[in-house]
Protein backbone atom coordinates (compact mmCIF):
# COMPACT_ATOMS: atom_id res chain seq x y z
CA UNK A 1 0.00 0.00 0.00
CA UNK A 2 1.29 3.44 -0.82
CA UNK A 3 1.72 6.20 1.70
CA UNK A 4 -1.01 8.18 -0.07
CA UNK A 5 -3.41 5.29 0.63
CA UNK A 6 -2.54 5.38 4.33
CA UNK A 7 -2.76 9.17 4.48
CA UNK A 8 -6.36 8.87 3.25
CA UNK A 9 -7.12 5.94 5.56
CA UNK A 10 -5.69 7.84 8.55
CA UNK A 11 -7.80 10.87 7.68
CA UNK A 12 -10.94 8.72 7.37
CA UNK A 13 -10.26 7.18 10.78
CA UNK A 14 -9.90 10.64 12.32
CA UNK A 15 -12.99 11.99 10.52
CA UNK A 16 -14.97 9.09 11.99
CA UNK A 17 -13.56 9.90 15.41
CA UNK A 18 -14.47 13.60 15.25
CA UNK A 19 -17.98 12.91 13.92
CA UNK A 20 -18.65 10.38 16.71
CA UNK A 21 -17.37 12.78 19.35
CA UNK A 22 -19.47 15.63 17.88
CA UNK A 23 -22.61 13.52 17.97
CA UNK A 24 -21.96 12.58 21.64
CA UNK A 25 -21.00 16.03 22.87
CA UNK A 26 -24.38 17.08 24.22
CA UNK A 27 -23.31 20.63 25.06
CA UNK A 28 -21.94 21.36 21.58
CA UNK A 29 -24.92 19.64 20.02
CA UNK A 30 -27.42 21.79 21.89
CA UNK A 31 -25.45 24.86 20.85
CA UNK A 32 -25.55 23.71 17.22
CA UNK A 33 -29.32 23.20 17.32
CA UNK A 34 -30.69 25.86 19.68
CA UNK A 35 -28.44 28.73 18.65
CA UNK A 36 -29.66 28.93 15.03
CA UNK A 37 -33.27 28.88 16.21
CA UNK A 38 -32.68 31.60 18.81
CA UNK A 39 -30.75 33.80 16.41
CA UNK A 40 -33.46 33.52 13.75
CA UNK A 41 -36.18 34.48 16.20
CA UNK A 42 -34.18 37.32 17.80
CA UNK A 43 -33.19 38.93 14.51
CA UNK A 44 -36.54 38.57 12.81
CA UNK A 45 -38.90 39.43 15.68
CA UNK A 46 -36.78 41.69 17.91
CA UNK A 47 -34.39 43.63 15.64
CA UNK A 48 -36.12 43.05 12.34
CA UNK A 49 -38.98 45.49 12.89
CA UNK A 50 -36.53 48.37 13.36
CA UNK A 51 -34.34 47.63 10.35
CA UNK A 52 -35.39 48.88 6.95
CA UNK A 53 -33.91 46.41 4.46
CA UNK A 54 -36.32 47.18 1.66
CA UNK A 55 -38.06 43.81 1.98
CA UNK A 56 -39.58 41.55 4.66
CA UNK A 57 -36.63 41.30 7.10
CA UNK A 58 -36.75 37.50 7.19
CA UNK A 59 -36.12 37.52 3.44
CA UNK A 60 -33.05 39.66 4.02
CA UNK A 61 -31.47 38.05 7.04
CA UNK A 62 -31.32 34.27 6.43
CA UNK A 63 -27.85 34.19 4.75
CA UNK A 64 -26.48 36.32 7.58
CA UNK A 65 -27.78 33.94 10.24
CA UNK A 66 -26.28 30.92 8.47
CA UNK A 67 -22.91 32.67 8.41
CA UNK A 68 -23.19 33.86 12.00
CA UNK A 69 -23.92 30.27 13.11
CA UNK A 70 -20.86 29.04 11.23
CA UNK A 71 -18.85 31.66 13.13
CA UNK A 72 -20.10 30.31 16.44
CA UNK A 73 -19.37 26.80 15.16
CA UNK A 74 -15.75 27.85 14.58
CA UNK A 75 -15.40 28.40 18.30
CA UNK A 76 -16.49 24.80 18.98
CA UNK A 77 -13.90 23.63 16.46
CA UNK A 78 -11.07 25.70 17.94
CA UNK A 79 -11.95 24.44 21.42
CA UNK A 80 -11.86 20.80 20.35
CA UNK A 81 -8.49 21.23 18.62
CA UNK A 82 -7.04 22.93 21.72
CA UNK A 83 -8.49 20.17 23.86
CA UNK A 84 -6.55 17.60 21.81
CA UNK A 85 -3.37 19.61 22.33
CA UNK A 86 -3.82 19.94 26.07
CA UNK A 87 -5.02 16.38 26.66
CA UNK A 88 -1.95 14.82 25.05
CA UNK A 89 -3.83 13.35 22.08
CA UNK A 90 -1.78 15.50 19.70
CA UNK A 91 1.45 14.29 21.32
CA UNK A 92 0.28 10.73 20.94
CA UNK A 93 -0.35 11.20 17.25
CA UNK A 94 2.82 13.21 16.70
CA UNK A 95 4.86 10.34 18.13
CA UNK A 96 3.34 7.97 15.55
CA UNK A 97 4.29 7.68 11.89
CA UNK A 98 1.18 9.58 10.85
CA UNK A 99 0.66 12.57 8.54
CA UNK A 100 0.04 15.37 11.01
CA UNK A 101 -2.94 16.84 9.20
CA UNK A 102 -5.09 13.72 9.78
CA UNK A 103 -6.18 14.86 13.25
CA UNK A 104 -7.01 18.34 11.97
CA UNK A 105 -8.80 17.00 8.89
CA UNK A 106 -11.02 15.06 11.26
CA UNK A 107 -11.89 18.19 13.22
CA UNK A 108 -12.47 20.26 10.08
CA UNK A 109 -14.78 17.75 8.39
CA UNK A 110 -16.80 17.36 11.58
CA UNK A 111 -16.96 21.14 11.83
CA UNK A 112 -18.35 21.47 8.30
CA UNK A 113 -20.88 18.74 9.08
CA UNK A 114 -22.06 20.54 12.24
CA UNK A 115 -22.35 23.81 10.32
CA UNK A 116 -24.41 22.16 7.58
CA UNK A 117 -26.79 20.83 10.23
CA UNK A 118 -27.10 24.35 11.65
CA UNK A 119 -27.79 25.63 8.15
CA UNK A 120 -30.60 23.12 7.64
CA UNK A 121 -32.13 24.26 10.93
CA UNK A 122 -31.91 27.95 9.96
CA UNK A 123 -33.55 27.22 6.61
CA UNK A 124 -36.27 25.17 8.31
CA UNK A 125 -37.06 27.83 10.92
CA UNK A 126 -36.89 30.52 8.24
CA UNK A 127 -39.43 28.76 6.05
CA UNK A 128 -41.67 28.23 9.09
CA UNK A 129 -41.74 31.94 9.97
CA UNK A 130 -42.40 33.28 6.52
CA UNK A 131 -39.14 33.22 4.54
CA UNK A 132 -39.94 32.90 0.85
CA UNK A 133 -36.76 32.16 -1.14
CA UNK A 134 -36.83 32.62 -4.91
CA UNK A 135 -34.30 29.90 -5.62
CA UNK A 136 -34.66 26.95 -7.99
CA UNK A 137 -33.10 23.53 -7.37
CA UNK A 138 -29.88 24.53 -9.12
CA UNK A 139 -29.61 27.69 -7.02
CA UNK A 140 -30.06 25.67 -3.85
CA UNK A 141 -27.23 23.32 -4.82
CA UNK A 142 -25.01 26.26 -5.74
CA UNK A 143 -25.77 28.06 -2.48
CA UNK A 144 -25.14 24.93 -0.39
CA UNK A 145 -21.86 24.22 -2.15
CA UNK A 146 -20.81 27.84 -1.83
CA UNK A 147 -21.58 27.94 1.91
CA UNK A 148 -19.85 24.57 2.41
CA UNK A 149 -16.68 26.13 0.96
CA UNK A 150 -17.08 29.04 3.37
CA UNK A 151 -17.49 26.60 6.28
CA UNK A 152 -14.42 24.69 5.13
CA UNK A 153 -12.24 27.78 5.06
CA UNK A 154 -13.28 29.11 8.47
CA UNK A 155 -12.99 25.61 9.96
CA UNK A 156 -9.33 25.44 8.91
CA UNK A 157 -8.86 28.93 10.32
CA UNK A 158 -10.47 27.82 13.58
CA UNK A 159 -8.20 24.75 13.69
CA UNK A 160 -5.22 27.11 13.34
CA UNK A 161 -6.44 29.31 16.16
CA UNK A 162 -7.01 26.20 18.26
CA UNK A 163 -3.36 25.21 17.77
CA UNK A 164 -2.10 28.71 18.56
CA UNK A 165 -3.64 29.19 21.98
CA UNK A 166 -2.50 27.46 25.14
CA UNK A 167 -5.76 26.73 26.90
CA UNK A 168 -9.27 25.61 26.11
CA UNK A 169 -10.66 28.83 27.59
CA UNK A 170 -8.50 30.97 25.32
CA UNK A 171 -9.63 28.94 22.31
CA UNK A 172 -13.19 30.15 22.75
CA UNK A 173 -12.03 33.77 22.77
CA UNK A 174 -9.63 33.40 19.85
CA UNK A 175 -12.47 32.92 17.39
CA UNK A 176 -14.15 36.13 18.53
CA UNK A 177 -13.27 37.92 15.28
CA UNK A 178 -14.98 35.24 13.21
CA UNK A 179 -18.21 35.67 15.15
CA UNK A 180 -17.95 39.44 15.11
CA UNK A 181 -17.22 40.13 11.42
CA UNK A 182 -20.76 39.43 10.19
CA UNK A 183 -22.07 42.40 12.20
CA UNK A 184 -19.84 44.78 10.21
CA UNK A 185 -21.11 43.54 6.84
CA UNK A 186 -24.26 43.47 4.78
CA UNK A 187 -25.45 40.40 6.75
CA UNK A 188 -27.92 42.21 9.01
CA UNK A 189 -28.17 45.76 7.71
CA UNK A 190 -27.72 47.29 4.23
CA UNK A 191 -24.15 48.60 4.02
CA UNK A 192 -25.28 52.07 2.85
CA UNK A 193 -26.88 52.68 6.26
CA UNK A 194 -23.44 52.54 7.93
CA UNK A 195 -21.30 55.66 8.58
CA UNK A 196 -18.98 56.17 5.62
CA UNK A 197 -15.73 55.10 7.37
CA UNK A 198 -17.35 51.86 8.50
CA UNK A 199 -18.85 51.32 5.08
CA UNK A 200 -15.31 50.99 3.68
CA UNK A 201 -14.55 48.23 6.19
CA UNK A 202 -17.82 46.46 5.51
CA UNK A 203 -17.38 46.50 1.75
CA UNK A 204 -13.85 45.12 1.81
CA UNK A 205 -14.07 42.33 4.34
CA UNK A 206 -14.88 38.75 3.28
CA UNK A 207 -18.33 38.44 4.85
CA UNK A 208 -20.04 41.02 2.62
CA UNK A 209 -19.34 39.28 -0.74
CA UNK A 210 -20.24 35.93 0.86
CA UNK A 211 -23.56 37.29 2.11
CA UNK A 212 -24.30 39.05 -1.20
CA UNK A 213 -23.58 35.87 -3.21
CA UNK A 214 -25.73 33.70 -0.95
CA UNK A 215 -28.55 36.24 -1.00
CA UNK A 216 -28.29 36.47 -4.76
CA UNK A 217 -28.50 32.69 -5.19
CA UNK A 218 -31.42 32.27 -2.78
CA UNK A 219 -33.37 35.53 -3.27
CA UNK A 220 -32.46 36.50 -6.82
CA UNK A 221 -30.80 39.82 -5.83
CA UNK A 222 -27.87 40.92 -8.04
CA UNK A 223 -24.57 39.13 -7.37
CA UNK A 224 -22.19 41.09 -9.60
CA UNK A 225 -18.53 40.43 -8.81
CA UNK A 226 -19.28 39.18 -5.28
CA UNK A 227 -19.07 35.48 -6.15
CA UNK A 228 -15.49 35.43 -7.38
CA UNK A 229 -14.27 37.81 -4.67
CA UNK A 230 -15.79 35.44 -2.13
CA UNK A 231 -14.19 32.42 -3.79
CA UNK A 232 -10.80 34.15 -3.71
CA UNK A 233 -11.26 34.75 0.00
CA UNK A 234 -12.18 31.06 0.56
CA UNK A 235 -9.19 29.86 -1.43
CA UNK A 236 -6.81 32.26 0.26
CA UNK A 237 -8.02 31.57 3.80
CA UNK A 238 -8.07 27.80 3.25
CA UNK A 239 -4.57 27.64 1.74
CA UNK A 240 -2.95 29.86 4.34
CA UNK A 241 -4.77 28.25 7.28
CA UNK A 242 -4.05 24.71 6.03
CA UNK A 243 -0.33 25.32 5.52
CA UNK A 244 -0.04 27.21 8.78
CA UNK A 245 -1.95 24.56 10.72
CA UNK A 246 0.20 21.76 9.31
CA UNK A 247 3.37 23.62 10.33
CA UNK A 248 2.00 24.47 13.78
CA UNK A 249 0.92 20.89 14.33
CA UNK A 250 4.44 19.56 13.78
CA UNK A 251 6.18 22.15 15.89
CA UNK A 252 3.71 23.11 18.55
CA UNK A 253 4.04 21.59 21.96
CA UNK A 254 1.46 22.02 24.64
Amino acid sequence: MTSAYWAVDNSLAMIGRSLRISARNVEALLMAVILPIMLMLIFVYIFGGAINSGTEYVNYVVPGIIILCAGFGASTTAVSVTHDMVSGMVDRVRSMPVVGSAVLTGHVVASVARNLVAMVIVVGVGLAIGWRPAAGVGDWFAATGFLALFMLSISWLAACLGLLVRSVDAAGGATFAITFLPYVSSAFVPVDTLPSWLRGVAEHQPITPIVETTRGLLMGTPIGSSWWIALLWFGGITLVAFAWAAALFRRRTA
Partner: protein, 307 residues
Protein backbone atom coordinates in the same frame (compact mmCIF):
# COMPACT_ATOMS: atom_id res chain seq x y z
CA UNK B 1 22.42 -3.97 20.51
CA UNK B 2 21.46 -0.72 22.19
CA UNK B 3 17.85 0.35 21.81
CA UNK B 4 18.53 3.89 23.00
CA UNK B 5 21.76 5.86 22.84
CA UNK B 6 21.95 9.39 24.20
CA UNK B 7 25.04 11.55 24.09
CA UNK B 8 25.45 15.02 25.55
CA UNK B 9 21.81 16.07 25.29
CA UNK B 10 21.14 19.67 26.34
CA UNK B 11 17.85 21.54 26.38
CA UNK B 12 16.82 24.95 27.62
CA UNK B 13 13.54 26.81 27.50
CA UNK B 14 14.49 30.47 27.40
CA UNK B 15 16.97 30.96 30.23
CA UNK B 16 15.72 27.90 32.06
CA UNK B 17 18.16 24.99 31.62
CA UNK B 18 16.11 21.81 31.62
CA UNK B 19 18.70 19.18 30.66
CA UNK B 20 22.49 19.39 30.93
CA UNK B 21 24.84 16.88 29.31
CA UNK B 22 22.74 13.77 29.59
CA UNK B 23 24.47 10.53 28.47
CA UNK B 24 22.89 7.12 28.64
CA UNK B 25 22.50 3.84 26.82
CA UNK B 26 19.71 1.33 27.15
CA UNK B 27 20.42 -2.21 25.88
CA UNK B 28 17.59 -3.75 23.85
CA UNK B 29 15.11 -5.77 25.87
CA UNK B 30 15.81 -4.07 29.19
CA UNK B 31 13.83 -1.72 31.42
CA UNK B 32 15.40 1.67 32.09
CA UNK B 33 14.08 3.81 34.90
CA UNK B 34 14.58 7.57 34.88
CA UNK B 35 14.02 8.66 38.42
CA UNK B 36 13.70 12.18 39.69
CA UNK B 37 11.46 14.67 41.45
CA UNK B 38 8.91 16.87 39.69
CA UNK B 39 10.60 19.34 37.38
CA UNK B 40 13.85 17.36 37.14
CA UNK B 41 13.61 17.20 33.32
CA UNK B 42 12.31 13.63 32.95
CA UNK B 43 9.41 14.49 30.67
CA UNK B 44 11.59 16.73 28.49
CA UNK B 45 14.04 13.87 27.90
CA UNK B 46 11.21 11.50 27.02
CA UNK B 47 9.77 14.08 24.61
CA UNK B 48 13.14 14.47 22.91
CA UNK B 49 13.51 10.70 22.53
CA UNK B 50 9.93 10.42 21.23
CA UNK B 51 10.72 13.07 18.53
CA UNK B 52 8.31 15.65 19.97
CA UNK B 53 10.97 18.17 20.95
CA UNK B 54 14.38 18.83 19.41
CA UNK B 55 17.43 19.01 21.66
CA UNK B 56 19.61 22.15 21.63
CA UNK B 57 22.79 20.06 21.55
CA UNK B 58 23.87 16.43 21.63
CA UNK B 59 22.67 13.35 19.77
CA UNK B 60 20.10 10.69 20.49
CA UNK B 61 19.35 7.48 18.63
CA UNK B 62 16.34 5.29 19.19
CA UNK B 63 16.18 1.85 17.55
CA UNK B 64 19.19 2.85 15.45
CA UNK B 65 17.67 6.07 14.04
CA UNK B 66 18.56 9.65 14.90
CA UNK B 67 15.65 11.35 16.68
CA UNK B 68 16.13 14.59 14.76
CA UNK B 69 17.24 13.66 11.24
CA UNK B 70 15.27 10.39 11.03
CA UNK B 71 12.29 11.25 13.23
CA UNK B 72 9.78 9.44 11.03
CA UNK B 73 11.80 6.17 11.21
CA UNK B 74 11.97 6.53 14.99
CA UNK B 75 8.18 6.99 15.18
CA UNK B 76 7.71 3.66 13.42
CA UNK B 77 9.64 1.91 16.21
CA UNK B 78 8.28 3.59 19.34
CA UNK B 79 5.19 4.32 21.32
CA UNK B 80 4.69 7.04 23.89
CA UNK B 81 2.34 7.01 26.83
CA UNK B 82 2.40 10.51 28.22
CA UNK B 83 1.89 11.71 31.73
CA UNK B 84 -1.82 12.34 31.32
CA UNK B 85 -4.02 9.60 29.93
CA UNK B 86 -4.51 10.74 26.33
CA UNK B 87 -7.74 8.92 25.60
CA UNK B 88 -10.96 10.23 24.08
CA UNK B 89 -13.62 10.41 26.76
CA UNK B 90 -16.42 10.47 24.23
CA UNK B 91 -15.26 7.32 22.47
CA UNK B 92 -15.49 3.80 23.88
CA UNK B 93 -12.35 1.93 24.85
CA UNK B 94 -12.81 -0.20 21.75
CA UNK B 95 -13.15 2.83 19.47
CA UNK B 96 -10.03 4.41 20.94
CA UNK B 97 -8.04 1.26 20.22
CA UNK B 98 -9.40 0.85 16.69
CA UNK B 99 -8.54 4.48 15.96
CA UNK B 100 -4.90 3.97 16.96
CA UNK B 101 -4.75 0.70 14.99
CA UNK B 102 -5.86 2.51 11.89
CA UNK B 103 -3.37 5.34 12.47
CA UNK B 104 -0.72 2.63 12.81
CA UNK B 105 -1.69 1.38 9.33
CA UNK B 106 -3.24 -1.93 10.31
CA UNK B 107 -6.30 -1.38 8.13
CA UNK B 108 -9.86 -1.46 9.43
CA UNK B 109 -10.34 -5.22 9.88
CA UNK B 110 -6.99 -5.90 11.55
CA UNK B 111 -7.40 -2.85 13.78
CA UNK B 112 -10.73 -4.22 15.04
CA UNK B 113 -9.28 -7.68 15.73
CA UNK B 114 -6.36 -6.17 17.59
CA UNK B 115 -8.66 -3.91 19.66
CA UNK B 116 -10.66 -6.92 20.82
CA UNK B 117 -7.46 -8.81 21.74
CA UNK B 118 -6.07 -5.90 23.72
CA UNK B 119 -9.30 -5.32 25.65
CA UNK B 120 -9.07 -8.91 26.84
CA UNK B 121 -5.46 -8.47 27.80
CA UNK B 122 -6.09 -5.35 29.91
CA UNK B 123 -9.22 -6.84 31.44
CA UNK B 124 -11.64 -4.33 29.94
CA UNK B 125 -13.79 -6.63 27.81
CA UNK B 126 -17.12 -5.44 29.29
CA UNK B 127 -16.08 -1.83 29.72
CA UNK B 128 -14.71 -1.76 26.19
CA UNK B 129 -18.15 -0.92 24.79
CA UNK B 130 -18.73 1.94 27.22
CA UNK B 131 -17.61 5.53 26.83
CA UNK B 132 -14.25 6.22 28.46
CA UNK B 133 -15.77 9.03 30.55
CA UNK B 134 -17.36 6.34 32.72
CA UNK B 135 -13.97 4.69 33.45
CA UNK B 136 -11.99 4.86 36.70
CA UNK B 137 -8.47 6.32 36.73
CA UNK B 138 -6.89 2.88 36.65
CA UNK B 139 -9.03 1.72 33.72
CA UNK B 140 -8.16 4.86 31.77
CA UNK B 141 -4.48 4.37 32.39
CA UNK B 142 -4.63 0.73 31.28
CA UNK B 143 -6.43 1.74 28.11
CA UNK B 144 -3.88 4.51 27.59
CA UNK B 145 -0.98 2.06 27.79
CA UNK B 146 -2.84 -0.46 25.60
CA UNK B 147 -3.21 2.24 22.94
CA UNK B 148 0.58 2.39 22.87
CA UNK B 149 0.83 -1.36 22.34
CA UNK B 150 -1.44 -1.77 19.36
CA UNK B 151 1.48 -2.63 17.10
CA UNK B 152 3.90 -3.80 19.83
CA UNK B 153 6.67 -1.37 19.03
CA UNK B 154 10.19 -2.46 20.05
CA UNK B 155 10.76 0.63 22.22
CA UNK B 156 8.09 1.80 24.66
CA UNK B 157 8.18 5.10 26.54
CA UNK B 158 6.06 5.35 29.67
CA UNK B 159 6.08 8.77 31.30
CA UNK B 160 5.05 8.39 34.94
CA UNK B 161 2.74 5.46 34.24
CA UNK B 162 1.40 5.20 37.79
CA UNK B 163 1.17 8.83 38.89
CA UNK B 164 -2.22 9.39 40.46
CA UNK B 165 -3.18 5.70 40.63
CA UNK B 166 -4.42 3.96 43.76
CA UNK B 167 -2.18 1.18 45.17
CA UNK B 168 -4.14 -1.63 43.55
CA UNK B 169 -4.08 -0.05 40.10
CA UNK B 170 -0.38 0.62 40.57
CA UNK B 171 0.24 -3.08 41.24
CA UNK B 172 -1.71 -3.98 38.10
CA UNK B 173 0.36 -1.53 36.08
CA UNK B 174 3.58 -2.99 37.42
CA UNK B 175 2.49 -6.50 36.45
CA UNK B 176 1.63 -5.19 33.01
CA UNK B 177 5.03 -3.50 32.57
CA UNK B 178 6.81 -6.69 33.66
CA UNK B 179 4.82 -8.69 31.09
CA UNK B 180 5.88 -6.26 28.39
CA UNK B 181 9.50 -6.52 29.45
CA UNK B 182 9.29 -10.32 29.48
CA UNK B 183 7.92 -10.22 25.95
CA UNK B 184 11.18 -8.54 24.89
CA UNK B 185 10.28 -4.86 24.54
CA UNK B 186 12.72 -2.18 25.60
CA UNK B 187 11.00 0.02 28.14
CA UNK B 188 12.03 3.53 29.13
CA UNK B 189 9.99 4.70 32.07
CA UNK B 190 10.08 7.78 34.23
CA UNK B 191 8.89 7.90 37.77
CA UNK B 192 9.06 9.96 40.92
CA UNK B 193 8.46 6.84 43.00
CA UNK B 194 11.70 5.38 44.22
CA UNK B 195 10.05 2.06 44.91
CA UNK B 196 8.71 1.85 41.37
CA UNK B 197 12.14 2.21 39.77
CA UNK B 198 13.47 -0.34 42.23
CA UNK B 199 10.69 -2.79 41.36
CA UNK B 200 10.71 -2.48 37.59
CA UNK B 201 13.98 -1.17 36.22
CA UNK B 202 17.13 -3.09 35.33
CA UNK B 203 19.07 0.14 35.40
CA UNK B 204 18.19 3.42 37.02
CA UNK B 205 19.35 6.94 36.34
CA UNK B 206 18.72 9.53 38.99
CA UNK B 207 18.29 13.08 37.69
CA UNK B 208 17.86 16.32 39.53
CA UNK B 209 17.68 19.81 37.99
CA UNK B 210 18.37 18.28 34.57
CA UNK B 211 21.66 16.72 35.63
CA UNK B 212 22.31 13.00 36.01
CA UNK B 213 23.42 12.53 39.61
CA UNK B 214 23.84 8.76 39.57
CA UNK B 215 23.17 5.68 37.52
CA UNK B 216 23.46 1.95 37.89
CA UNK B 217 21.39 -1.01 38.98
CA UNK B 218 19.22 -0.58 42.06
CA UNK B 219 21.67 -2.81 43.97
CA UNK B 220 24.68 -0.72 42.89
CA UNK B 221 23.02 2.48 43.94
CA UNK B 222 22.17 1.00 47.31
CA UNK B 223 25.78 -0.06 47.87
CA UNK B 224 26.85 3.54 47.37
CA UNK B 225 24.84 4.47 50.44
CA UNK B 226 26.36 1.67 52.51
CA UNK B 227 24.79 -1.79 52.84
CA UNK B 228 22.17 -2.94 55.27
CA UNK B 229 21.86 -1.90 58.87
CA UNK B 230 20.72 -3.56 62.07
CA UNK B 231 18.96 -1.45 64.64
CA UNK B 232 19.11 -2.77 68.22
CA UNK B 233 16.66 -1.41 70.74
CA UNK B 234 17.73 -1.99 74.33
CA UNK B 235 15.66 -2.65 77.42
CA UNK B 236 17.30 0.19 79.41
CA UNK B 237 19.76 3.06 79.15
CA UNK B 238 22.30 0.99 81.14
CA UNK B 239 22.07 -1.82 78.56
CA UNK B 240 22.58 0.71 75.78
CA UNK B 241 25.60 2.23 77.54
CA UNK B 242 27.21 -1.19 77.95
CA UNK B 243 26.68 -1.89 74.25
CA UNK B 244 28.23 1.43 73.21
CA UNK B 245 31.39 0.54 75.16
CA UNK B 246 31.53 -2.89 73.57
CA UNK B 247 30.74 -1.99 69.95
CA UNK B 248 32.76 1.22 69.79
CA UNK B 249 33.28 2.48 66.25
CA UNK B 250 30.93 -0.11 64.73
CA UNK B 251 27.96 2.04 65.77
CA UNK B 252 26.81 4.22 62.88
CA UNK B 253 23.84 5.93 64.50
CA UNK B 254 22.63 6.53 68.04
CA UNK B 255 19.00 6.58 69.13
CA UNK B 256 17.47 7.28 72.50
CA UNK B 257 17.40 3.60 73.49
CA UNK B 258 18.82 2.17 70.30
CA UNK B 259 22.01 1.76 68.28
CA UNK B 260 22.48 1.14 64.57
CA UNK B 261 25.23 -1.11 63.26
CA UNK B 262 26.26 -1.89 59.66
CA UNK B 263 25.85 -5.48 58.58
CA UNK B 264 25.98 -7.68 55.51
CA UNK B 265 22.44 -8.74 56.27
CA UNK B 266 23.20 -12.45 56.83
CA UNK B 267 21.55 -14.38 59.66
CA UNK B 268 24.97 -15.48 60.93
CA UNK B 269 26.15 -11.95 61.42
CA UNK B 270 22.98 -10.86 63.16
CA UNK B 271 23.13 -13.91 65.46
CA UNK B 272 26.77 -13.16 66.29
CA UNK B 273 25.84 -9.60 67.18
CA UNK B 274 23.03 -10.74 69.48
CA UNK B 275 25.28 -13.36 71.12
CA UNK B 276 27.81 -10.65 71.78
CA UNK B 277 25.17 -8.50 73.49
CA UNK B 278 24.13 -11.52 75.57
CA UNK B 279 27.71 -12.05 76.67
CA UNK B 280 28.09 -8.49 78.00
CA UNK B 281 24.65 -8.68 79.62
CA UNK B 282 23.00 -5.98 77.50
CA UNK B 283 19.34 -6.93 77.03
CA UNK B 284 18.11 -6.35 73.49
CA UNK B 285 14.35 -5.71 73.42
CA UNK B 286 13.85 -5.41 69.65
CA UNK B 287 15.81 -5.98 66.46
CA UNK B 288 15.09 -4.34 63.13
CA UNK B 289 16.94 -4.77 59.85
CA UNK B 290 16.89 -1.83 57.46
CA UNK B 291 17.58 -2.11 53.76
CA UNK B 292 18.55 1.20 52.22
CA UNK B 293 15.78 2.61 50.10
CA UNK B 294 16.24 4.73 47.04
CA UNK B 295 15.18 7.61 49.29
CA UNK B 296 18.41 7.01 51.17
CA UNK B 297 20.25 6.96 47.84
CA UNK B 298 18.69 10.25 46.89
CA UNK B 299 19.66 11.77 50.20
CA UNK B 300 23.21 10.46 50.01
CA UNK B 301 23.80 11.63 46.44
CA UNK B 302 22.02 14.95 46.25
CA UNK B 303 22.36 15.98 49.86
CA UNK B 304 18.65 16.56 50.11
CA UNK B 305 15.33 14.90 50.00
CA UNK B 306 13.61 14.57 46.66
CA UNK B 307 11.51 17.69 46.35
Amino acid sequence: MDAIRVHGIEKSYGKQRVLTGIDLTVPAGTVFGLLGPNGAGKTTLVRILATLVQPDAGRAEVAGHDVVSAAFSVREKISLTGQYAAVDELQTGYENLVMVGRLRRLGRAAAKRRATELLERIDLVDAGRKLVKTYSGGMRRRLDVAMSLVTEPPVIFLDEPTTGLDPRSRQQMWTFVRELADAGSTIFLTTQYLEEADQLADRIMLIDHGVAVADGTAAELKVRVGGERVELEFASLADRAAAVLDLGAAVTAFGELSLTVSTDGTAAEVRELLDRMDKIGATVAKVAIHRPTLDDVFFALTGGNPR
